[in-house]
């Protein structure tokens, strides 16, 4: 009979228990959760595409988008994915100091991204684009706002990991919880890869000013 030991992400001090699937249930649950998130973000992206180019009043995407600025934000988020896997490498080597350092760097890069998004939203608002200005404003803020909330949750998870590590509440082999948080973090990154292309880089119909 195929039974596996499930490491419970440290929540029970690295306690192991058997699973019937032969896979750690925490990791399986994370992948199923991420699969369900595809449907959530798919709905938001589809709604944006459905209503793109149909706003009757401005501001339009071409009036407000600052591609160089958003490109830097994209690079920052991409870099955070690299620092996340570096944290995992350190955790696998049981190098706690480097693991904490990489986790903090990832959180810092995430904060930079979210800070950039807050600045962007503020700038757009001052240019006259609010949630209720037009269909572009509504679909844009909801889509990118939901993504920003996900990044913020990811930052909290990263900081929690660092805090738990500092309080010595992570198991000696912290690779598993780091990998779980990493899966979520990389998912947030791949969602941005799609958003950056669909929302920012693909020119929008007749209302675009490039």
């Amino acid at each position: 009979m195929a039974l596996a030991i499930d490491k419970d992400g440290g929540s029970h001090g690295g306690e192991e228990h058997q699973t019937t699937t032969g896979l750690p249930s925490t990791k399986l649950a994370m992948w199923i959760f991420l699969a369900s998130e595809c449907l959530l973000f798919g709905a938001l992206i589809t709604t944006y595409v459905l209503y793109r180019g149909v706003s009757k009043t401005g501001p339009y995407p071409g009036d407000v988008f600052d591609i160089p600025y958003t490109s830097v934000s994209s690079f920052v988020l991409l870099a955070s994915s690299l620092t996340m896997v570096m944290a995992l490498v350190a955790a696998q080597k049981r190098d706690v100091v480097r693991m904490r350092l990489w986790l903090l760097t990832t959180a810092l890069l995430g904060l930079t991204f979210v800070g950039g998004q807050v600045y962007e939203f503020t700038a757009f608002y001052h240019e006259g684009l609010s949630l209720s200005t037009n269909l572009f404003g509504t679909t844009f803020y909801v889509l990118t706002g939901f993504h920003g909330v996900h990044v913020t949750v990811g930052i909290l998870m990263l900081l929690s990991l660092v805090g738990m590590s500092a309080a010595d509440r992570l198991p000696d082999d912290a690779a598993f919880p780091v990998e779980m948080v990493g899966l979520y973090w990389h998912f947030v990154d791949i969602v941005w890869i799609i958003i950056f292309t669909v929302v920012y880089l693909i020119p929008t119909g007749p209302d675009v000013v490039r």
């Binding site: 596996a4 699937t21 798919g42 589809t46 690299l82 696998q92 890869i193 950056f196 693909i202």
Partner: protein, 119 residues
């Protein structure tokens, strides 16, 4: 109960593990730090290409497939290497691809129904 369990395992393709702890270990060895950095550099180059293509004056019928192609390569690289789907048990990939395929099919039907195209 035991029968249900074994049927569940069969459906999921669970292998009979000699040592249950094997399930915790990656199916194949996870990449090294150097390999991660190499993937990171490739991702940065692809992003730079995406941004550069925005400023090139080309027809949208060429630009849009190019941008989608670059985004797809980046997506696959992150999922396979950084999220380890290339190295872990295939059942994780099955669950994720199921959700992804469901979302893609559903929303493609919606977009086609409403004749909402990107070009």
């Amino acid at each position: 109960m035991a029968d249900t369990e074994s049927r569940f395992q069969e459906e999921l393709g669970a292998e009979d593990l000699a040592d249950p702890r094997e399930a915790l270990a990656p199916h194949r060895e996870h990449p090294s730090a150097k390999e991660y950095i190499r993937i990171g550099v490739i991702l940065a180059v692809l992003t730079a290409l995406e941004v550069a293509s925005y400023y090139v004056d080309v027809n949208t019928s060429v630009l849009i497939p190019t941008l989608f192609g670059l985004a797809l390569v980046k997506f696959v690289l992150v999922v396979l290497w950084f999220m380890h789907l290339r190295f872990d048990d295939r059942r994780y990939a099955r669950f994720f691809v199921m959700g992804l395929a469901l979302a893609a099919t559903l929303y493609l039907i919606v977009l086609i129904s409403f004749r909402a195209f990107l070009v």
